[in-house]
Every structure is written in structure tokens, then in C-alpha cells.
Point group: C2
Chain length 224, copies 2
């Protein structure tokens, strides 16, 4: 006969740990697209208040979730040949990581100081590339802020599009085109013209285009 279960196993569920709570919270956010303390308590099989034993409030938990969400982000090595290509790749990877974890883009955008180790590693790698591009400290930091603000703002905006229960992005594009096609072309000719171009304005393309605008100017300023 096996030994009696340890105290940890005697209870019907394992005891809560901060890391375990964070993991379940990220899973919950990924499943539902949103996240509440009460839903988390239920998924943990515990009282909604049990989490408050490990985190001061929802904000503190979200801070921990953000850093955990960025753990799977792998920055390119600092010595890679082309810093501009590195910045482009990191921008796309950052967007992808935020999209994998709904609600985290809002944390980035809120400009709370985020000093988790994975968050800092991402910032460090991005600043490194900007310096390697040849920018001075002031431009590197302003460029860093511009990229972070754009990426987090973009993901916050696209999250509800992906979460639509009808066709998601394609339904959204169709809706936009229908709306702009109905605009009176004599009063708003440019807007009416925009309607025809709408189907190719996918989120991927919009994101890539804007990132390239930002990076192109940064590269030019570095060259001067």
C-alpha cells in the first residue's frame, strides 16, 4: 500500500501558488477572451477571494500575467547583422505574443512601469537594436516609445475584431466596406474611393505598413 498522501495532496485540489494562479488566469483569458476575478476563482475551484491571499488586487495579478505572457518571446541575438530586420521581426513577434494573451496589450499601453524580467529583456533587446541602428539616446528612446505605443494600441484595437463570433476579421472588413460604400460620393469622394480598397486592408497589412513607416524614418534619422 502506498504511503498516505502528503498534506498537499490530501485536499481535493493542490494548494494555490502565485505561478499556478497566473497560469490558470492566462488560460482563462485565452479561452474566454476576457477575464474576471470571479471567473478565475471558479476555474481554480476556490473562493473568489482566495486569489487575494497571493496578489494584492487585480492590478498586481495582471502585472504578473503580463510578464508571464512575454516569457515565450525570444529576442534575436544582439549581433545579428541587420538591426532593422531585427526590429521588424521583434515588432511582429511582440504583436503575436500580445494577441495570444487577450487583455495584456491594455497593460502595456497603460504605461504602468512594467519591470518583470521578460518585459525588461524585450525592452533591452529593442533598445539595443535601435542603438545599433546608430540612433542617439534621445531618438532611440522616443523611437522605442513610438513602437510600443503603436503596437499595444493596435492590438487593443484588433482584439475585439478577432473575438467577433461571426466571421472575425473578414466579417469586419465586409462591414467596413458596406458602410463606406453607402457614403454619398459627392460630399465625401475620397472616403467613397476608400471603400473599394477596403478588402485588401487586412489587419496584417495595416500593421506591417505602419511599422515599416516608423522603422523607415528611424533608419533615416540614424543615417544622418
Amino acid at each position: 500500500m502506498p504511503a498516505a498522501p502528503s498534506t498537499a495532496r490530501r485536499r481535493s485540489r493542490p494548494p494555490l501558488t502565485p505561478a499556478g494562479i497566473v497560469q490558470v488566469a492566462l488560460d482563462l483569458a485565452a479561452e474566454r477572451g476576457d477575464f474576471s476575478m470571479r471567473a478565475l476563482g471558479q476555474k481554480l475551484g476556490a473562493d473568489p477571494m482566495a486569489v487575494y491571499r497571493h496578489f494584492a488586487d487585480k492590478n498586481a495579478l495582471l502585472d504578473a500575467m503580463l510578464d508571464a505572457a512575454l516569457a515565450d518571446f525570444q529576442p534575436p541575438g544582439p549581433d545579428a547583422a541587420d538591426p532593422l530586420a531585427g526590429l521588424r521581426r521583434m515588432s511582429h513577434d511582440f504583436r503575436a505574443a500580445l494577441l495570444r494573451h487577450p487583455g495584456m496589450a491594455e497593460r502595456v499601453a497603460m504605461n504602468r512601469p512594467a519591470t518583470g524580467p521578460h518585459t525588461l529583456e524585450l525592452a533591452e533587446a529593442t533598445l539595443g537594436k535601435l542603438f545599433r541602428l546608430g540612433l542617439g539616446a534621445s531618438d532611440a528612446i522616443s523611437g522605442f516609445e513610438a513602437l510600443v505605443q503603436f503596437i499595444s494600441g493596435f492590438v487593443r484595437a484588433e482584439e475585439p475584431v478577432h473575438a467577433r463570433d461571426d466571421g472575425g476579421e473578414s466579417a469586419w472588413l465586409a462591414e467596413m466596406q458596406a458602410a463606406y460604400s453607402a457614403v454619398p460620393a459627392d460630399r465625401f469622394p475620397h472616403v467613397a474611393r476608400m471603400a473599394a480598397q477596403m478588402p485588401e486592408q487586412t489587419l496584417d497589412r495595416q500593421f506591417e505598413y505602419a511599422i515599416d513607416l516608423l522603422l523607415e524614418s528611424l533608419a533615416r534619422r540614424a543615417r544622418k
Copy 2:
């Protein structure tokens, strides 16, 4: 003795109209920084459900509020000499208009088709300047989307900073600098270096810098 008050005046408050509701709702959002249907009902001196007689739901009311919020936006004339200066001015004016009406930036970012007259006028004027810059339809539309996404995302992010009940922006800058100063400089040298530059990274400067990056690239693409 004056005539008996009209039916409209006999009641203690004037009857609700869509335009009146929108005005009170914008006032409420400006005062409190946020906005709820229940608080609106109270401010109107009516049942929370009274608004539902004029608007299908909160979304419909917010759509009307956005267009009203953009009514005070004056686009520069289409014939102004320098389209780039026009775009810069419009970007700053758009940000200012959104900041005057908390919560409206979120509506812009959400990419619901916004087809109110003032919203369309803003879009029409912006696209006009981009075409005058020399861009083709595809670039003009992508550039338009990049500007709108950046501006709305930026305002969504800065709103909570301005709404802080301690020093607002200056308290936020101090907090950011303190956090980044505490980072281990051996592991994160670039981030530590960023701390020293933090005080000059005001929201105005961040915004201006990023807008100029976007516009600079757009102007270059137009020239080619």
C-alpha cells in the same frame, strides 16, 4: 398673470431628446472621466431606462457621442499650401478633440464603421491631404489607417495618466523614472540608460515624435 406653462414646461424637467441626451452624456464623461448608463440616468433626472427609448443600447449612444465630439474639429482648407503641415496640424487637433471627450478614443479604435457627418468630414479632409501629398490610393488609405490607429491608441493609453488624482503626467513620469532607475544596470544597461532620459519623454513629445516619424515616411513615399 402669465399663461399656464406649456406641456413641455409643466413637467419638472424638459422632455428628453437624442441631442440633449448626447450633450449631457458628453458632459458627464468630461466631468467624471468615465461614463455609465446609470449615472447618465441620474444626471438626466430620469430613470436609467429612459435613455433606451431614444437609443437602442449603449453602443448606439456612444456612436452618436463620438460624432458630436468631433463637431468642434475644424479641418484646414483643402487648398492650403503645405499638405504635410496640414496633416500634422490635423493629427494634433484630432488628439486634442479626443482628449476633451474621455472614452471617445476607444470608439475610434474599435474600428466600428463610424459614418457620422463630422467623422466623415475628418476622414475626407485627411485623405484629401494624403492625396495632395502625392500618394496613390493604396498608400493614402494605409497611411490614413496608420495615423488613426496610432492617434486613437495613444489617447486611449494616455487618458488614465491624465485622470490620475495625484500629479497626473508629472507623477507618472516620476514613477516611470523611479522604476527604471531601480533596474540592475549590469543586466539591462540600455533600460537603465533610458531612466535618465525619462523626464523629457512627456506625452506631448512622444506624440509629436511618433506622428513625425509616420508623416516623414509618407512624404518620402509620395516623392518617389
